[in-house]
């Protein structure tokens, strides 16, 4: 289980995450929604330590990080390794082929031997349906294909938690659909997944739990149906705005 307790994050004077506490259950899919600037990305980025929270505790299956103390670099790194991140803008390495993108982490960070890494990467390429693109460079791939490679790159690290930050926002609906389809499949498997999205029909389909973030606080959480049935004015307003 991923336990977040009283997490605070400031950017200068801007108090972006306010005492966030949240339990994310293993093998479940959690969807984070909320209006722009509410702190969804920041929360996700705190979970894999792309941002360092100012205070609070994150506990992943017994490994505890207390941000009110200074955390050594190597502790941070080994924590980050256990999470995988998929970005809105893919962020594939443009000087590496699809295959090289996927094996980069396993070879460089996990110190796997190259042959094993390639075998596993080929398996992942099949998994995301892009076996024939192994030697293509990112700029030779469509946005949807790039994002699927980016997902394979994250999966190659065998992360315990998979984080998606608006994985289809940079894609037109058709290409987005192939990525959403893939994420949907992953959510049925044993992955622990956290997704930030504005796509509510997708949220309804994949989520075990939906978390509504507003101005750096968790305003509500529950199953999709719970949330829509809450008749919370702010949530209803938000949802109607998206339709």
């Amino acid at each position: 289980m991923l336990k977040i307790e009283k997490l605070n994050k400031y950017f200068g004077d801007n108090h972006v995450l306010k005492d966030i506490s949240l339990d994310i259950e293993t093998k479940k899919t959690t969807v984070i929604i909320g209006s722009s600037g509410s702190g969804k990305s920041t929360l996700l980025r705190c979970i894999n330590l792309l941002e360092t929270p100012n205070s609070g505790v994150i506990n992943l299956d017994g490994t505890e990080l207390d941000f009110s103390k200074k955390i050594p670099g190597n502790v941070k790194k080994s924590f980050t390794k256990r999470t995988g991140m998929v970005f809105q803008s893919f962020n594939l390495f443009p000087h590496k082929t699809a295959l090289e993108n996927i094996i980069e982490g396993p070879v460089v960070v996990l110190k796997k031997d190259k042959k094993t890494a390639i075998d596993e990467a080929m398996e992942l390429l099949r998994r995301v349906g892009l076996e024939d693109k192994r030697d293509s460079y990112p700029n030779q791939l469509s946005g949807g294909q790039q994002q699927r490679i980016a997902i394979a790159r994250a999966l190659a690290m065998k992360p315990e938690v998979l984080l998606f930050d608006e994985p289809t926002s940079a894609l037109d609906p058709e290409l987005g659909a192939e990525v959403l389809g893939l994420i949907k499949e992953l959510s049925k498997e044993d992955y622990t997944i956290i997704i930030v999205t504005h796509n509510m029909s997708f949220a309804r389909e994949v989520s075990d739990e939906v978390v509504f973030v507003e101005k750096g606080e968790i305003l509500a959480k529950g199953s999709y149906d719970d949330l829509t049935a809450m008749h919370n004015e702010r949530i209803t307003q938000f949802l109607s705005y998206l339709d």
């Binding site: 894999n48 792309l50 670099g73 790194k77 080994s78 980050t80 390794k81 999470t83 995988g84 991140m85 970005f87 803008s89 962020n91 594939l92 390495f93 443009p94 000087h95 980069e104 982490g105 460089v108 960070v109 700029n139 790159r153 994250a154 690290m157």
Partner: protein, 234 residues
């Protein structure tokens, strides 16, 4: 053109070209290689904000870019002997030109590194890479591709700038020309000739540069970044 002019030009052509092959080109090449290595180190120190060293590098770039190259040459060659440091002309030239390239090209590298989107650092970090791994495996290969064309420009400039070394008695092309002129009193012919040889060198290099840029297969985005760096250098 009369026969005497042709004779003067043909007689002096080989000695000047030889000075180019024996001094101008080696001086340029060695200083460029050393200077570029220095530049890369300085850029990495500055981008990584290494404490103390970062400030020293900043100071170094500020001083070198803010003073004339000729003054630097004079300082090292004529000034340092006053405090007992006597350096032979060629080593002095290599040193000053390397230090100069180190400062100017560090700005090229730095701009190239800073032009790589933040998302590249983040993607590398998210894989759990250490800072040196992020830099060496992900950022520098991309930055180097962008830095290459501007670096080549500074190489071409250096070929011409080495003519300043005539002032510290390195017998490169300009000093050789001056010496021949002192004998034949034909400054107009002689400086046209040496100018022509420099032009020849630079034209060849420009050709090589064009070929190299074709082979780099730059994306429009990379071209834009390169343009920006070139503009900032000019």
């Amino acid at each position: 053109m009369d026969a005497r002019a042709i004779e003067i030009l043909t007689e002096s052509f080989w000695p000047i070209l030889k000075a180019g092959l024996c001094y101008t080109i080696p001086l340029t090449l060695i200083a460029f290689v050393l200077g570029t290595l220095l530049a890369a180190l300085v850029a990495i120190v500055r981008v990584s904000k290494v404490p103390v060293l970062n400030k020293i590098c900043e100071l170094y770039v500020w001083i070198i870019r803010g003073t004339p190259l000729l003054v630097q040459l004079f300082l090292v060659f004529f000034g340092l002997p006053k405090v007992g440091i006597v350096i032979e002309p060629m080593p002095a030239g290599i040193m000053v030109f390397s230090i100069s390239i180190g400062a100017y090209s560090s700005e090229i590298f730095r701009a190239a590194i800073l032009s790589i989107p933040k998302g590249q650092w983040e993607a590398a970090m998210a894989l759990g890479m250490s800072y040196p791994q992020q830099l060496i495996r992900i950022i520098l290969p991309q930055a180097f591709k962008i830095a290459l064309p501007p670096l080549f420009n500074s190489f071409i400039s250096l070929v011409k700038d080495t003519s300043l070394a005539a002032n510290i008695t390195i017998p490169e092309m300009l000093l050789t020309t001056q010496r021949i002129t002192a004998r034949n009193y034909e400054p107009l012919l002689m400086y046209i000739e040496v100018g022509f040889i420099y032009l020849l060198f630079c034209t060849v290099l420009n050709f090589v540069q064009t070929k190299m840029e074709e082979r780099l297969m730059l994306t429009p985005d990379e071209k834009k970044k390169i343009q920006k760096i070139n503009d900032a250098q000019a």
